[in-house]
C-alpha cells in the first residue's frame, strides 16, 4: 500500500506538474508538452536514449548468457568475484572509467593517447560500456539462479543423444534461462532509459539523454521549466512502460517455451 501510494503519488504528481499552467500569460495546461515535443533537441535526445538503451541491454544480455555458461561449472568463490560489479554503484564505475580512459587518464599517460574516445563521445559508447560492465554480471547471476538441477539433467539427456556443446546451449540452457533473462533485461533497460548520473559523467553534452534533458530543463530561464522537466520525464516513463509490456510479452513466450 505504501509502495503503491508513493509510486502512484509520484506519477500523479509528475502529470500534475507537467500540466500546471505556471505562466500567468495564459499559455495553457499543455504548453510544456507542446514546447517539449516540438523541441528538436528533445527529439535527438529520444533517439539517442533509445539507441543507447537498446544497444547496452542487448550487448549485456548476450554477454550475460556467455558468462553464465562459463560460470556454471566454476566454484562459488569465482561466482562471488564475478558479482563484485553488481554491488558497485553505477557512478563509481563511471568515475573509474573517466579516471582510466578519460582525457589525462592513466591510459593516455601510459600510451600517449586513447585508441577509442569513450568519454563524452557523441555515439554514447562510454555510457554503453559502463552499463555493459555493470549489468552483464547482474544478468548472468539471474541466469545462473534460473538454471536448476532440472537443466543439468536435461543437458545430460541431450548430451546422451549426441547434442554438442553449442546445441545444448541453444536448445536447453537458453530456453531455461530465457524467462529470468527477459525479466532482468527489462529492469536493466528501464534503468538505462531513466538514469542520469552515468550520462552526466561520461556521456556527451549533446545529444543528452531524455532524463538529462529533463533535469537540464530546470536551468532554462522561463516559467515553464518545471512543466518541461515533468513532461520529458513522463515520456521516459511511458517508454519504460511500453518496454515493460514488450518484456512481459517476451517473458510469457519464453515461459511457455521453457515449459514445453
Amino acid at each position: 500500500m505504501v509502495l503503491g501510494g508513493l509510486g502512484a503519488g509520484a506519477l500523479a504528481g509528475a502529470i500534475s506538474a507537467s500540466l500546471e499552467p505556471a505562466s500567468p500569460t495564459g499559455a495553457g495546461p499543455f504548453a510544456g508538452w507542446r514546447a517539449v515535443l516540438s523541441d528538436q533537441t528533445f527529439g535527438r535526445a529520444v533517439g539517442f536514449t533509445i539507441a543507447v538503451t537498446v544497444t547496452a541491454t542487448a550487448v549485456a544480455t548476450v554477454l550475460a548468457v556467455l558468462l553464465a555458461a562459463v560460470l556454471r561449472r566454476r566454484s562459488p568463490s569465482t561466482r562471488s568475484f564475478t558479482a563484485v560489479p553488481v554491488a558497485v554503484p553505477h557512478l563509481v564505475i563511471a568515475a573509474l572509467a573517466v579516471a582510466w580512459i578519460g582525457p589525462g587518464g592513466i591510459v593516455e599517460r601510459a600510451f600517449g593517447s586513447v585508441p577509442v574516445t569513450l568519454v563524452g563521445d557523441s555515439l554514447g559508447l562510454g555510457i554503453i560500456a559502463v552499463y555493459v560492465v555493470k549489468e552483464t554480471p547482474f544478468l548472468a547471476l539471474l541466469v545462473l539462479a534460473a538454471l536448476g538441477r532440472d537443466t543439468d539433467r536435461l543437458e545430460e539427456a541431450a548430451a546422451a543423444h549426441g547434442a554438442g556443446r553449442m546445441s545444448r546451449l541453444r536448445h536447453v540452457v537458453v530456453p531455461a534461462a530465457a524467462p529470468a533473462l527477459a525479466g532482468g533485461a527489462m529492469i536493466v533497460a528501464a534503468f538505462t532509459l531513466g538514469a542520469t548520473e552515468v550520462p552526466y559523467v561520461i556521456g556527451p553534452t549533446r545529444p543528452g539523454t531524455i532524463a538529462t534533458y529533463a533535469l537540464d530543463a530546470t536551468r532554462i530561464d522561463g516559467p515553464l521549466a518545471t512543466t518541461h522537466q515533468a513532461a520529458a520525464l513522463l515520456v521516459v516513463t511511458a517508454l519504460a512502460i511500453v518496454l515493460a509490456g514488450v518484456g512481459a510479452a517476451l517473458w510469457r513466450v519464453a515461459h511457455r517455451g521453457a515449459r514445453t
Binding site: G7, V84, A87, P89, L144, A211, A230
Partner: protein
Amino acid sequence: MNARRKNLLTAGAVLVTVIAPLAMLVVQAFADQWHAPAILPQAYGTRGLHAVLDDPNLAAGITNSFFVALAATAVALVLGWPVARLVSATRHRAFGVGLLVIPLLIPQAAIGTGLSTWFLRLHLAGSLTGLTAAHLVQVLPYVTVALLTGFTPQLAQNEEAADSLGATALERFGHVTLPAMVPTAALAAALGFIVSWSQYGTSLVVGSGTPMLPLTMVPYLRHDPQIAAVLTLFFIVPPALAGALALRGTRQADRDVDPEAFRAPSPAGAHRAPNGPGCNPFPPPNQDCHDRTRREAAITP
C-alpha cells in the same frame, strides 16, 4: 586447462578488474600534484581528504546519504517482510513480483519530480524524511523481492512443524522464522542500502539542494580528480562492506545447514537455515546450491 593456469587467469582477472582500479583511486586520492604526462604523481599529500572533511557541504553529503540509506533500508525491511510473506504464500507468485517491480520502471528523476509537488505542500521537500520516503519507492521493491527468496516451502513446513508441536506465534518467529531468514534479510538489507546510497536522480530533485554524496561527487569528477577520488572511496566503502557482510552471512548459513533438518522437519532442526526444495545442502565444490545463487542474484542492476 590445468589448475596452475586457472589460478593465474583468476589472479589476472582480479588484478585487472578490482585491484588496479582501486589502487588507481587510492593513488589519485593522495596525489597532491599529478601533471600529465607523468605516470606517477609528482607529490603526495592529504589535500583531497582535508578538502572533503573540512567542507561542511561535502561532509554533510556523506552523513546525509548514510542516514537516509539506513532509514530507508530499515523501513523497507519492516514494510517488505509481511508483503514478501504474503506474496510467497500466493499461487501467483510471478504476478506478485511483477506488481512489486512496477515502481522500478519509473525513472528516479520522474519519481523525484512527482513527489516534490506533494512534498512541497507537506513541507517535506529537502528534508531527510522526504528523501527517505522518495528513496523507498525504489528501495522497497528490491528489498521485498530479496526477502521473497527466503520464504521457501521448506521454511513453511518448518513453521507448520513448530505449530503442530505447540509453539506460540512469538516462539515460532523467534526460533524458526527469524534464524532461517537472517541470511536473506542480511542480503536484502545490503541491497536496500546500496540502492538508496546510489540514488542520484531522486535525491537531486527531492533534495532541493540538500547535500547527498552522489550529488556532491559529480561536479568534481571532471574538475578536481583528487577530491573526486576521495569522494569515490567514501562512496564505495559502505556498499563493499554491506555486500561482504551479507555474502559472509549467506556463506555461514550455508555452512551451518544440517542435513537432518531437510529430511525430517522438526523444531530441533528448524533453527537451521533452510535451502530450497530439492537443493543439496552440501553441494560439491563445483556445484553451488541454487538457493544461495538466488540470494546472490537478488542484487540491484
